[in-house]
Symmetry: D2
Subunit: 117 residues, 4 copies
């Protein structure tokens, strides 16, 4: 058992599919994720999930299982997984923090331009 | 030169920073990306960009340059980069396609439940 | 529990380190991996491990724990993890298979050159 | 143009292949890499290449082109790419550095055990 919270962003690729269109497979994986109870967000390049390390990595394993159950012989995921012990931060806050900094930068630049004028 | 369009999702990590908070650095990278003219979207686990292969990979290289210019000695990116020649698809459409399938699945299940009743 | 064998290749990055040299940290992670009993191989861009899904992902979580125990506030791993149900293949065999194909290609080309002459 | 040296480790996956066995495709990519003149090393989970940013990312783009030329409609790569400006280090040295630390640790432990006895 790993006693850590984590945020994982994963992109799963079914291998050996008759077609290059993967959305049907991804939809099946999403159905499973939705039923997991973990906080998650799907974007165009993957799905971000957060929770206890064991639950999150188990969820990704179940995503592989979903594909194999559909007859896909092989699957590969790319996972970016992060842990931190200095503070709690939920992944939806991260973008807000960066956007706030960007907003402040803009204001600062605007005010600097004014004082130059 | 590589004559391919691509979609890349990258997560850049500055290494050897005095703090574990990276948002200030990420904001500087975002300023550069915004000025690039490429279609992009920031999410909590990275930034998705699309365009010609050479421009997209150059953009990511410039993100490394931005960090080094700030005095960061080392940086590492994880990049998921995809190309396809069977059809054109812009990354914002991908999520919509999956969500449409999920919507149809729901309707189908609802109608199946009805007919059972 | 996930009932699948997997091969995972991971690259762990400590974040918020006083220095850009990570080898001391990586060495501590390697000590833990060596004691795990799983089949593994370290290369310059990561470590490949194979075994049951739960054990492999737990090992990577323990790698994060090792870093946190050393006082590192934050860590991120990039993981490539694959499963397949069509055949058993241990990761050290993969390179051999590709190299055999390359060898055969060379022979074929040599013999084609001969017959042209 | 990006004026940085880099080390990239990439794993390319052909999508929409009739089979789950990818070694034939990987072998074709390896033939191209071998002819590139860049320093590289194939391992079971990818290929590590080093050189100028533009040349390395172009090489990976060419790997996608190789697959498309073979009729593969879609391909995705996972790339770990690193740059550093504090020192020059060639990727084959990295493993040696970690192994040297591990060796020293062993010696130290052995000598500590001795002095306890």
């Amino acid at each position: 058992m790993v006693d850590l919270k984590c945020t994982a962003d994963f992109c799963i690729i079914p291998i050996g599919t008759p077609t290059a269109s993967l959305s049907q497979y991804i939809a099946e994986v999403q159905v499973m994720i939705r039923s997991s109870g973990l906080t998650y967000s799907m974007h165009s390049a993957g799905t971000t999930v957060e929770g206890p390390w064991d639950e999150v990595t188990e969820l990704i394993g179940k995503a592989h299982q979903v594909l194999h159950d559909l007859g896909i012989p092989r699957a590969q995921s790319d996972i970016r997984i992060g842990t931190r012990i200095d503070k709690k931060q939920s992944f939806p806050e991260k973008v807000a923090v960066v956007e706030k900094i960007l907003e402040e930068k803009k204001k600062q630049q605007a005010s600097e331009t004014k004082s130059v004028v």
